[in-house]
């Protein structure tokens, strides 16, 4: 008996070793990445101060870096995309969740999700070859020089985030319990009234979370925006909501980072630091959206 017990020797759990190692590696890379971005952007912050974020003054040949124009471009393009896409997505989601039979709902959902899989460079191509020409013709009376405008970027992004927004919103509506629907109908509410006073009210946090996620995606999108935005520096209108700014070319954080200026910046620590600061600003803005979306989702699921 004793010998049997002795034979059972200790075996280390190799899966545990592997799992902890991976966790350590992932966290390590994350910390390394953030630390590198911060450290490398320091020269630019030291040189420019808060002006790096607040001044609309980016002339890298003169060593002047103020990214306000890009921040403006990024935010306007993102909000424009959300404003254009959300009404459509909400309507489509209500249609799918409340009016369609389950089988046709799945058909529609598959079609819309396959659009979500289309790569951004293909949207960029559609933008370059089709949307840019159309926008150029439509916007010419309003003073657009070409089809490369802030508005073109917004419209293209709206089309891009539409499928994601629709499926996420539909999920949120679908998550409202079937009993609530039955109870509301049993009280004599019409379908329309059920939608407004039960479904939307209950799913509001979910819809909001979906919109924030969509907004975050729009703000961080690079390639499609890069191809149609015109990439002109220092475009910051005097009024915040300016119509003329919409029909002019602009620059976003992502279109700046995706361009070849990154190679030019490599030799100059301040210029490179400014580019890294752009990365940090972008990370901050998109992280804020994603974090808020996550928070809403958690809040909502723990309450119900």
């Amino acid at each position: 008996m004793d010998s049997l017990l002795l034979k059972k020797r200790y075996r280390p759990d190799l899966w545990a070793v592997f799992s902890w190692a991976v966790l350590g590696l992932v966290l390590g890379v994350l910390v390394y990445t953030l630390a590198t971005l911060v450290v490398q952007s320091l020269p630019a912050w030291r040189e420019m101060g808060a002006g790096l974020l607040l001044k609309n003054d980016w002339f890298f040949r003169h060593g002047r870096f103020g990214a306000a124009g890009m921040v403006y471009g990024t935010i306007v393009v993102g909000l424009l995309a959300l404003a254009l896409a959300l009404p459509l997505a909400l309507g489509a989601a209500i249609w799918m969740a409340e009016y369609l039979a389950p089988r046709s709902r799945w058909g529609v959902k598959v079609l819309i999700e396959s659009l979500a899989a289309v790569p951004s460079v293909v949207y960029g191509l559609l933008g370059v070859l089709i949307l840019r020409r159309w926008m150029g013709e439509w916007l010419a009376p309003f003073g657009a020089w070409s089809g490369d405008t802030l508005l073109t970027g917004g419209v293209l992004l709206a089309i891009m985030i539409l499928p994601t927004l629709t499926t996420l919103t539909e999920d949120a509506l679908q998550n409202v319990s079937q009993r609530q629907r039955a109870a509301a109908r049993g009280l004599g509410l019409t379908r329309g009234e059920v939608v407004w006073s039960v479904i939307l009210r209950q799913a509001m946090p979910g819809v909001l979370a979906a919109s924030l996620l969509g907004l975050g995606r729009a703000l961080g999108e690079t390639i499609a925006v890069y191809l149609v935005i015109g990439r002109m520096d220092n475009q910051l209108p005097e009024r915040l909501f300016s119509g003329t700014a919409l029909v002019q070319p602009a620059q976003t954080l992502t279109s700046k980072l995706g361009g070849s200026e990154l190679y030019i910046a490599l030799g100059d620590p301040v210029h490179w630091g400014a580019m890294m600061a752009l990365c940090l600003i972008l990370l901050g803005i998109t992280g804020l959206c994603a974090g808020a979306s996550l928070f809403l989702n958690r809040l909502w699921t723990t309450n119900s």
Partner: protein
């Protein structure tokens, strides 16, 4: 009785009220149908346009020939090869890492705050703009390690990018394993490692497949992460080494050609390449559709 079920007396307002309610009902239905049809219209327009413009130019020669005259003529042989190389590397990076992370999230990390922190972190990582992966990759491989453009760097960056997608899907299917099975295995005297090997891993293969295919569908089409670290437009065929061996890739091919799209000859090739890429990506995400359908149906009944 009358006190319990108080029915309001019919009033003059009733007719007006009924009309108002019918109007709201109709209006809601109209908004929903119009939104849905517009959405479907946009989907069909985008997909239809790509198919109509791209499909006629795609034939075997287009797949098999290398591109000539900077993309104006020839096919996309090495762009396809490069994309396949990148995707296999991506998979080789993402699968082991995601298994480790998913085990940490379902078995090893203490329940509660640590697990939900990891899940939250994964969701945040999933929302990170893809260009940042590219720039951080550039920083690390070029700036720090001194590599040139390399397929391995591209695969590593893309693998990191799809890590959350694969891991989240894996965690979902691991959490769906019935507790009974795990208790039974523990009751049989299996060690934790044995339980993982014979229950956790085989039962979550479905989640691994779903996550990997969805992740690959995203990785195959992304341009921004590989822009600086892995791809060139022309001049290479297949990589021969690791450090300074870039590849061609479908999305980058489209990206560069789209920028000088004024040349008429490029446009046919451009649409055909876009069609191939879209077909690849949609094919990848439709492959795992039955699995996802299954999962969501289960949720609907709950």
């Amino acid at each position: 009785m009358r006190g319990c079920f108080a029915v309001p007396e019919p009033t003059v307002d009733n007719k007006l009220m009924r009309r108002r309610r019918t109007f709201i009902d109709l209006a809601t239905h109209t908004i929903a149908v119009v939104g849905g049809l517009l959405c479907l219209g946009i989907v069909t327009a985008v997909l239809g346009w790509i198919i109509l413009r791209g499909a006629p130019h795609v034939d075997l020669h287009f797949f098999w020939e290398a591109s000539r005259e900077s993309g104006l003529a020839g096919g996309i042989r090495y762009q396809i090869a490069g994309t396949i190389i990148l995707m296999l590397t991506t998979l080789a990076v993402a699968v082991p890492l995601s298994i480790g992370l998913a085990l940490a999230a379902t078995v090893y990390l203490p329940r509660g705050a640590a697990r939900s922190a990891l899940q939250g972190f994964l969701q945040l990582l999933n929302a990170m703009p893809s260009i940042l992966f590219g720039i951080v990759g550039y920083l690390f491989f070029f700036h720090y390690l001194g590599w040139g453009k390399s397929w391995l760097a591209g695969g590593l960056v893309l693998g990191w990018m799809i890590l959350p997608t694969v891991t989240i899907s894996l965690i979902k299917s691991m959490e769906a394993i019935p507790l009974k099975q795990i208790h039974a295995a523990a009751g049989l005297g299996m060690r934790r490692g044995q339980i993982i090997r014979s229950i956790y891993l085989p039962q979550s293969v479905r989640g691994l497949f779903t996550g990997s295919f969805l992740g690959l569908a995203r990785a195959a089409g992304e341009t921004a992460p590989i822009l600086f670290v892995a791809t060139v437009f022309a001049g290479v065929s297949l990589p021969e080494g690791i450090r300074d061996s870039p590849v061609l890739a479908l999305p980058y091919h489209i990206f560069v050609l789209a920028q000088d799209s004024l040349q008429a000859g490029a446009i046919e090739n451009l649409w055909a390449t876009a069609f191939v890429l879209v077909a690849l990506v949609i094919g990848l995400s439709l492959t795992v559709l039955p699995f996802r359908l299954h999962n969501s149906n289960r949720r609907d009944h709950a």
